[in-house]
Symmetry: C2
Subunit: 347 residues, 2 copies
Amino acid sequence: MQVLETQNNEKLMGLEKVFSPLSVHLDELNKFLNSQIDCFELELRDLVSYALEHKGKRIRPMLVFFSGWQSENYVSKDLIKVAGVIELVHLATLIHDDILDEAIIRHNMPTLDKKYGSKIALLLGDALFSHALILASEFEFGNVCQTISQSIRRVCAGEIKQTFQASQDHYSLNDYYRIIDLKTAELFHVSCLLGARLGKYPENYVEAIAAFGREMGLAYQIYDDIIDVLGDEKSIGKTLGTDFAHGKHTLLSLKLMEKLSREECLEFCKNVHEKRIGLKELKRTLLEYGIFDQVISLLNKKIENAAKLIEPYQFMPSYSYLIGIQDLILDQIARINSSFAKEKSEK
Amino acid sequence: MQVLETQNNEKLMGLEKVFSPLSVHLDELNKFLNSQIDCFELELRDLVSYALEHKGKRIRPMLVFFSGWQSENYVSKDLIKVAGVIELVHLATLIHDDILDEAIIRHNMPTLDKKYGSKIALLLGDALFSHALILASEFEFGNVCQTISQSIRRVCAGEIKQTFQASQDHYSLNDYYRIIDLKTAELFHVSCLLGARLGKYPENYVEAIAAFGREMGLAYQIYDDIIDVLGDEKSIGKTLGTDFAHGKHTLLSLKLMEKLSREECLEFCKNVHEKRIGLKELKRTLLEYGIFDQVISLLNKKIENAAKLIEPYQFMPSYSYLIGIQDLILDQIARINSSFAKEKSEK
């Protein structure tokens, strides 16, 4: 989930294009989030302030704004607030994730866990969750509080399933899709759902855009799986191949398991973990078995599914923006694939 | 917070007396909580079921029921549900506390952290918080969701302040009261507040009983501080003197610090931690400086404050039950003090 959230000039150009209609929205969102610091108990303010410095690329707020699109120059207080709520929930999940993963750096800053210790990080994550729900309970319509708390529970269920699966023998494609649906697609889904609902769009559109969000979340997670192997280490700001090395199942490892036996695949992962197999050989093996092509084709399928869901709404001004997000992901994948092809031909 | 929640025959006799008008209520509460398991995602159900086996003594539900008192034979669905919500929040905080404290046993069972590891425990705590808030969002009146999420944030603030203070030089009586107000009294307060509100009592009673709850929470925490040194190791099911040994400030250590210098007090705690000073010597020192008498007198003061707040409501049937909770705490302290006196005279 870190890919679009770190520094990379080429990527930022693409992102900037997608974000360009949102400059008013994002300014208002930043103001809103900063205004929340003083709502916290005195004891929490410095911590909240530090946590808010970890600015992601605001993908979920972007989905909120485009789904509940009003205009480039106007965005309602409700839409800003719900985007803020979802961003706070996302931030809280990242803080708890970083404890679980013993992560040191996030958004080019020490994680809360690293800077303040896991006790403080755990409790601050809880405090951010609860603050998000205080805000959610202030909406007079849209069933925001219930929708958000259900989403948090589903995200937890996904993370728990993933944690259990890491040590289990059987792992199917269904398990994989269930996990990424819960841990990643859920918040994409709810961003679109609440954006459209609070933007006061009709129910059929709300349903369509919410389903679009879910497919986009799945696509985004598959994209993230690919990036973990084929990305540019500098630009994504983390060591590549970590999913494989940590035995975390992704679509790539699942597809490899269809070619090798489970035992061979586990042995392979172990070798990656123990650095007997380096990134180059990892890439070569995945290429040899045609894994990248398969996975990219599954990613494309998700993007197509998503596009179909909003096809009936082409007349809406936000349609082109939503398609723009898809193009951004596809462009990224094309760019990565072509630089990988170049790398191969140079050998 | 474990004292009233573990096995002890004498104590249970006292508790049973206080709980006797609540047998219908507690049966309904248990049914309600068990009925929630199937509302969770499939991946979470076994974990939730295990977490619910950790039955506390239901102190907070007791406050909900007495504050919103209807009758011995009738309790509304709203009251059961809000008691369930608060119990789930309490359970989630215990699960997260046990990770922070690396606790192994809770309610005579392995903690979730011990049984499933800290990743699962952290995520399940989050899932229980979010489920509590899903339920809270279902109330049509009483502002339950906002009230509960504000309380969770305050509990976190208290725990965070306590974590920071453990390593800080300056620690005042005000700091102590602020911490226990947030980490302990808050949920007592909200139990009484929401109980009375959902029992549809008038606003002046709601305010009075909520303030009673807060004072009782403070009293309970002071009681817990005393028990940590003077309690019966078997019955409270944990090693005594751990607050001192872990450098956690309590009313006892604060009062000792008024007699010794801070340096001497820190040296003393270090000696307790490193077992150069045993429990007997700890008790003897606290006795020598008159700490127990001082602290028990402060506890009595809180109990008196609480009683005064509900004095105008003596005509209400639940008044005697609420006073019964106070008597239980006072009886406990008297019993502990007299067995301590006996112990002294035997030497």
